[in-house]
């Protein structure tokens, strides 16, 4: 192969459209000719491009903090679904119970006991979620999503406590 033939076929070699035999001929010529070999080695440098570039060291903490914040919000959302169910049970009890109870009644109906049994772990989870979000807010005080989550956690906990207190009456 001559240098002119190499030049003619180089773009096709680059595009991968040559037959295997033609591609080998181009590579063979590049191995024998210093000038054409230099063109090929420039392209080989492209093939050796690194798959990794070190990120800035500070990005590690920023990224892991972003993940922790998302974890705190996700945990609160999971609990919110459970709390809604507990609140619904407690509300059902409040609506359906008689306005006055005989003194001899067993302390609590089955609905009331179920509501209280469910409420205790949910309240504990809400306390844990509050701590998580407060911790995240300490790092990111301007994060409005976290502030909103904290407000909703506290509101839900108070609403749940009110329902449980009323269920005990």
């Amino acid at each position: 192969m001559t240098c002119a033939e190499f030049a003619e076929r180089f773009d096709a070699w680059l595009a991968g459209t040559l037959t295997d035999a033609d591609a080998r001929a181009v590579e063979q010529h590049a191995a024998e000719c210093a000038a054409c070999g230099a063109r090929l080695s420039a392209v080989s440098q492209v093939g050796a491009i690194s798959r990794e570039i070190p990120p800035p060291p500070a990005l590690r903490e920023i990224t892991l903090r972003a993940v922790a914040q998302r974890r705190a919000i996700a945990r609160w959302r999971r609990m919110a679904a459970g709390i809604t169910a507990v609140a619904a049970i407690a509300l059902l009890f409040l609506i359906s119970r008689p306005t006055s109870k005989p003194a001899s009644d067993f302390p609590g109906t089955s609905t009331e006991l179920i509501a209280m049994a469910h409420a205790r772990p949910e309240l504990a989870d809400l306390d844990a979620a509050e701590r998580d979000v407060e911790h995240a807010l300490h790092d990111q005080p301007a994060d409005s999503a976290l502030t909103g989550a904290l407000t909703r956690i506290r509101r839900q906990r108070e609403a749940l406590r009110r329902l449980v207190t009323q269920a005990k009456l």
């Binding site: 773009d11 680059l14 595009a15 990794e52 590690r60 990224t63 892991l64």
Partner: protein, 182 residues
Amino acid sequence: MPAGETLIDATIAAAQRGDEVAFASIYDAQAGRVFALCLRLSADRAQAEELVQDVFVRVWERLASYRGESAFATWLHRVAVNTVLERARSGGRRRLRVQIAADFANIETVPDGAVERVDLHQQIDLETAVAMLPAGARAVFTLHDVEGYGHAEIGVLLGIAEGTSKAHLFRARRLLRQRLEQ
């Protein structure tokens, strides 16, 4: 099973249970490749750093769905590619979306010289040359030559025809060759 693989599996399992230290180990092992992908697709360091955060938040969100059907690194980088391209399409990273879309639309009409923005006296290294590629060509080059995707898959990921992907790759390699030979 090799000891190293067991260790990796244990780390992934711990991260799936919410272990923050284990997740940090995953970050340490994969951040370099994820950052390279984000940087090459966006050609903008600040944007790439935001994308890395998006990718690892998404990885954490989807970690529970990883069942070990493929190598963890392969799974993670697929999540990374999808996250970056979704961000580009959604408008959350509008500039990246506009660059890529415009470049795909104009492959036949934009002369290569139009994207030359380099001082010819400047020392050009490989990363700089990649960063100067038109956005569409850069995306295809990164996915094909660096990440190892095929043209059919790139076509699906980027919403372009397989032939368009090949054309962009050819253009990218040609431009890189020209710049590296200067």
